[in-house]
């Protein structure tokens, strides 16, 4: 049970604003779980309720099988890495790392030894005498990590710890934090709004939206099969289309957008003729084909004829905006195969039926 976090019906409102509404979630022992979502989705509030900084309005927090809902932060077996690190400016680096150990009233020699070890672990050996203000952002973050893990918590909470770092450093720290977690084997609960960060680091991701957990799953599962329009949108499924199911037969559903564009989707058993649905197609699953070739070589893929509207050059790939009837879709072409195209050029877009993701959405009728 050590390191298991069970959240049961957690709810928290600030005035009229509901930050977290009835979240139940089981975080497994030793896993790296990421709470992913845009700002204001409630992920930080949820983390703060686990840490003990916010009392929930309703629900329970169980850590390692014990109900800690009523316990203050200083009596919970968790430690936090704060967004802006929250290092004590009046203490040295070693003094910061030693703080929690001093609170446990350990002996001086023992504290010194464990501080030393923790600083070595985050590759800050020899910097113990510095002040936090004398360190770079990346180094400060390592201090914050060392200060939290030196106490060997059952669960480590990380609140957007990399938001303040530049991109290159962030990418390095992702690997480092992930390695640290694997070495320590303790449960990490990580909060971020960066989907790439979440995909790289997590064992499982919980995507949050408007105070609710929309979907929980392994990164691959989430990436391959986002269940809701929000999750799809957040995980870069850029082409979201509203459509009506025209017919369903032999594993394929025929769909039509309100503007009259038709296409086929692989039936996952969820399509009903006549129903309105939201579907998504990843830009990288769409490609350009030569119009004549496609007539000769019918591979059963969807074919859309459209006009090139815009080019978004991204270095390793190019995103093309293509107008198809009343829809505008994005086609991603990797730099390896991209060729020069002109705006206004007629193009044919092709994508397989199994690239169409059916999205469950209560609001399928809306917008």
């Amino acid at each position: 049970m050590r390191g298991v976090v069970a959240l049961q019906g957690l709810r928290k409102a600030f005035g009229d604003v509901v930050a977290v509404r009835d979240v139940s979630l089981e975080i497994r022992s030793g896993e790296f779980l990421t709470l992913l979502g845009p700002s204001g989705c409630g992920k930080t509030t949820l983390l703060r309720m686990i840490a003990g900084f916010e009392p929930p309005d309703a629900g329970q927090v169980l850590i390692s099988g014990r109900d800690v809902t009523a316990r203050p932060a200083y009596q919970r077996p968790v430690n936090t890495v704060f967004q802006q690190y929250a290092l004590f400016p009046h203490r040295t680096v070693a003094g910061n790392v030693a703080f929690g150990l001093e609170m446990q009233r350990l002996g001086k020699a023992q504290i010194a030894e464990r501080v030393e070890k923790a600083l070595e672990m985050v590759r800050l050996g020899g910097l113990g005498d510095r002040r936090p203000s004398q360190l770079s952002g990346g180094q400060q973050q390592r201090v914050a990590l060392a200060r939290a893990v030196v106490l060997e918590p059952e669960v480590l909470l990380l609140d957007e710890p990399m938001a303040a770092l530049d991109l290159k450093l962030r990418q390095e720290m992702r690997v480092e934090v992930k390695n640290l977690q694997e070495r320590l084997g303790i449960t990490f609960v990580f909060v971020t709004h960066d989907q790439e960060e979440a995909l790289v680091m997590s064992d499982r991701i919980a995507v949050m939206n408007r105070g609710c957990v929309e979907q929980v799953g392994a990164p691959e599962a989430l990436y391959d099969r986002p269940r809701t329009r929000f999750v799809a949108d957040f995980l870069a499924v850029r082409n979201l289309l509203r459509a009506t199911v025209v017919s369903v037969s032999s594993g394929r559903a025929a769909l039509r957008t309100p503007g009259g564009v038709t296409f086929a989707a692989a039936d996952d058993g969820g399509y009903r003729a006549g129903a309105a649905v939201w579907v998504g197609v990843r830009p990288e699953r769409m490609r350009f084909v030569e119009a004549e070739a496609s007539e000769l070589n019918d591979d059963g893929d969807n074919r859309w004829h459209g006009t090139l509207e815009d080019e978004i050059y991204l270095g390793d790939r190019t995103d093309w905006r293509v107008r198809v009837g009343e829809e505008t879709v994005t086609v991603a072409e990797s730099a390896a195969v991209a060729r020069a195209r002109r705006r206004g050029e007629p193009v044919t877009v092709s994508f397989p039926a199994d690239a169409v993701l059916r999205l469950e959405d209560a609001e399928a009728e809306g917008r």
Binding site: F53, N79, L87, F88, H90, G100, M103
Partner: protein, 279 residues
Amino acid sequence: MTSRRAAVLLALPGLVALAALFVAPQALMFESSLGRRSFYGGVVHQWSLDNYRRALEPLYLTILARSVALALATTLLCLLLAYPVAYWIGRRAPMRARNALLVLVILPFWTSFLVRMYAWIFVLRTEGLVNTALGLAGLGPLNLLYNDAAVLLGQVYGELPFMILPLYASLERLDRSLLEAAADLGAGPGRALWRVTLPLSRPGIVAGSVLVFIPSLGAYLAPDLLGGARTVYMGSLIQSQFAFVRDAPFGAALSFLLSLVVLLLLLVFRRPLGEARRA
């Protein structure tokens, strides 16, 4: 015009005022402290260190020690009383109430200190508010006025706002996440206060202490009015040299002795003071 020259020009009025209103009088005072009293209370400009020698006699050193003790006690009591108030206004009171509360802290300044000292006399004297109330309860009367406790009370009362304001400033901007970090690392409220809040509000503690200690050292209104001038403190001693004894040179020497004590203390505390200025 270069920005350097502009800066000098901008500083000029202040520098002139400082020279005319502070440096020049100090120089005149110093000159007269070296002279001696004439028969009719004027200054004879014959320079010697006699006044300083006299000021260091045990009688006057005792008075100086008493003044230092009063200033220290005032500072300490102000600190103990002001800290919870400043903490509450800066960290607990609702945001929109804070300005109003700060106005309440400085509200006494709207009335002259002299008048407020007289008000205390009305509260403390034998037929005063407190003793009348005690009398109704069949107690008292107590001797509340004209003793050292009354002097200390008057001093603490008068200087308290000067302690609250800098403490408020340093407590109010203390980063909440640092206190959360302390709790997260296992520090209960008491230990978080002792290990994080107090050290981080040190600039405010130092600034407030200096602001209270220095004027308390030369206090003479409270000793005079609430102490009944029974116990002599430096402030009243100096005042009497100028006003009654008419020995301006000796009064000037005593003033410089007092300034020297302040200067020495500031030197001792210059490191924490530097922190207070930077913060």
